[in-house]
């Protein structure tokens, strides 16, 4: 699942947060910059006011009393204020005192203060020129902006770490677990529940929803597979039934329900083999309806079929269930196989069959058909094959036909 395009959610989130924080920091920097600028300007004004209220009177007294050292100190005191970059005192009598960076005299707009005499009467004693310290503004701006940026940097780092941690713990790890689980999922383990090692919590979240969805999906697939199995089983049963029907059809005669010749040639050899191996008796009876063609001609083929079915039914009714079996050999000819039966017993059975057949048959339309059959019996002789046995029985049938029909020969 890991592809070249893979990018963790945390990266996306962190990138967004960093972008947002940068934007916020820039915005706040602008605001802070404006505020700082105003603040510094106010500070400048306050300092100038301070100079007017405290330094000017001192200067006034100092100039008046010609205390040049005091005047010099005052000017230096003024410049010592961080807000002031340069001060120049032009005394009315021509003397000049200056302190600070004289270059500011040209670069900066100068503030000018007249120095009144101590008693406030008369001509001003001089003029005080003051240039503010521009470095202070830059310094204050730098500090303020640095504070903003460092603050945001720390905040962003903190938020990103938190996001990364929470995402890893709450999202990435469970999701990876789910992805692994899903990739390992096989039909055999379909019902195995998704196990996420997450600490217990009072509330559900999206991960729980996805996990629940997994469980639901698994259950649905599982149910679907179960239904498929049932359907396959049903179809198989139906197929088996159909196959069994087909098989039944392949070994039975469609009209009479007796076995067909195919079955005889398949099954009789194994009967002979068993009789041979265990030295058990086995007899075969050839039975052929007498004068059946005239019945067909006189009553129609459907009636003929009806009669054939009656004959088969009468034969079956006289045989031992599950031991003896009947084959429609062709036309109106039947072969009855009597395992565990010697010739004498077979003759008795044959006689019973002849008797059963020779009763009149009442057709569906109420007409009555009188029918008889001739039967040839042959008992298995050791080492004899199927063909020989059948030939001998057929020969006895022929003899019975020759002998006047409706009789048993063997």
């Amino acid at each position: 699942m890991k592809t070249a395009n893979y990018r963790p959610l945390a990266h996306v989130l962190i990138r967004r947060i960093v972008l947002l924080a940068t934007a916020c920091a820039l915005l706040l920097s602008v605001v802070q910059g404006v505020l700082t600028y105003r603040q510094v300007q106010q500070r400048f004004e306050a300092t100038l006011q301070d100079i007017v209220s405290s330094n000017l009177p001192m200067l006034s007294v100092g100039i008046w009393d010609i205390e040049t050292e005091a005047v010099r100190r005052q000017v230096e005191t003024i410049v010592a204020k961080p807000e002031i970059g340069y001060a120049r005192l032009n005394v009315a009598t021509g003397q000049v005192f200056e302190a600070g960076d004289a270059a500011l005299l040209r670069a900066q707009p100068l503030r000018r203060f007249e120095i009144p005499p101590p008693n406030n009467r008369g001509e001003p004693l001089g003029t005080l020129l003051i240039a503010v310290q521009p470095a202070l503004l830059y310094q204050a701006l730098t500090q303020a902006l640095l504070a903003v940026f460092i603050g945001y940097l720390l905040l962003t780092l903190l938020i990103c770490s938190l996001v990364a941690y929470v995402l890893r713990r709450e999202v990435e790890r469970p999701l990876r677990g789910m992805a692994d689980f899903a990739s390992r999922l096989a039909p055999s383990s379909l019902t195995a529940p998704l196990q996420l090692s997450r600490p217990a919590r009072p509330h559900h979240d999206e991960i729980d929803l996805v996990a629940h969805g997994f469980a639901t999906l698994q259950a649905a697939i599982s149910r679907h597979i179960d239904t498929l199995d049932q359907q396959v089983e049903e179809r198989t049963r139906q197929l088996d039934a159909a196959l069994s029907d087909i098989r039944e059809l392949s070994i039975r005669d469609g009209l009479t329900g007796c076995y067909n010749r195919a079955l005889l040639s398949e099954r009789l050899p194994s009967e002979l083999e068993r009789a041979q191996r265990y030295r058990r008796p086995l007899a075969v009876v050839f039975c052929d309806a007498d004068h059946f063609k005239p019945v067909n001609d006189r009553f129609g083929h459907l009636a003929g079929d009806e009669v054939l079915r009656a004959i088969a039914q009468r034969i079956s009714s006289q045989l031992r269930q599950d031991i003896d079996w009947v084959v429609r050999f062709g036309g109106e000819e039947f072969v009855i196989v009597l395992p565990e039966t010697d010739l004498a017993a077979a003759l008795v059975t044959a006689e019973r069959l002849r008797a059963a057949i020779s009763t009149s048959v009442i057709l569906a339309d109420g007409r009555t058909v009188q029918i008889t059959a001739s039967l040839g019996v042959a008992a298995f002789q050791s080492g004899e094959d199927v063909e020989s046995l059948l030939n001998r029985a057929d020969t006895q049938l022929y003899l019975a036909k020759q002998g006047g029909r409706n009789r048993v020969m063997g």
Binding site: W64, D65, I66, T68, V91, T93, G94, Q95
Partner: protein
Amino acid sequence: MRRMLALLLCCFSLPAMALSVTFINPGKHDEVFWLTATRAMQAAADDLGIRLQVLYAEREHPRVLALAQQIIAQPAAQRPDYVVFSNDYGTAPELLRLFEAAGICSFMAFSGRDDQPGQPAIGLPRMNFRHWLGSLEPRAEDAGYLTARALIERGRRAGLPRINGKLPLLAIGGDRSTPSSLRRSEGLRRAVSEAGDVVLLQEVHAGWSQQRAQEQGDWLFRRYPQARLLWAGNDLMAFGAMDAWRRRGGTPGKDAFFSGINTSAQAMAALRDDSLSALAGGHFIAGAWSLVVLYDFHHGHDFADEGLELVRPMFTLFDDRSAARFMQHYGKLDFSRVDFRRYSKQHNPRLRRYNFDFRQLL
């Protein structure tokens, strides 16, 4: 009274040995006024048989206290019998405390008691501080007054321009705290008010410094272009103002007039070449007179009957002749021609009241 007797006895305890006095000189060792004062004191000490030690504070106030502690730290036998000091810059209370604790008798010369507002008063001599015997000060106001009056007279004679009928006058004082400085200014003001046709435009303070006086003079002449009279609290400041005037292209004594105080050779010369128009001095002798007073006290002639805090006229206004005489007699700071014993009550039992005027020494 008993207490005082005890005190006197304490001070007489070493009659066999020579009387010893230490003078804490507040000035610099090469400062003309204080050097002159010291020389005069030494002459008096020689006449009276006093062992005199002079310690210079070099005009640094904290050093005065350090010197006092140095005196106290000496073994009792080596300590002086008396300490003479000047109450400059309000150092007296601390000095008195130190000497009182050490039991050393002290006497103030030149500058006496000056109770500052906001500080505990030191009281009168021999009260709070029993070892503080008293003080002797020149009447400083005289100096200011005499020089101012002479300066104004010179201005009138020169027919200087007037403002509203009055002669404009400038003043450069010493400082704002030393009593002698203040009194000199008071004398100036008294002279101005007595004159009636003079207006004191402004008084500034140069801290006794020639350089600062020059600077302030420059400012003042620019500030008051009409002013042609300048009174100074001492000679150096007068010289500073004169320098400033010269730098402006003027000639002191011709187009502007200056007055000073002190008896330096330079001042005398300036007076004689007329660049300095008025000069008063002679109060350096206060130190020598103090030794006379202490000598008499030591020998049982207490000055208490003349007052414990003596403020006496000492200043002399010099003219050409007296200046010439001063230079002739004392130009080399040699005061040996004066016999200070003549002014001692011990040596002149009939002397009832001290005369400290300097004029008698000329």
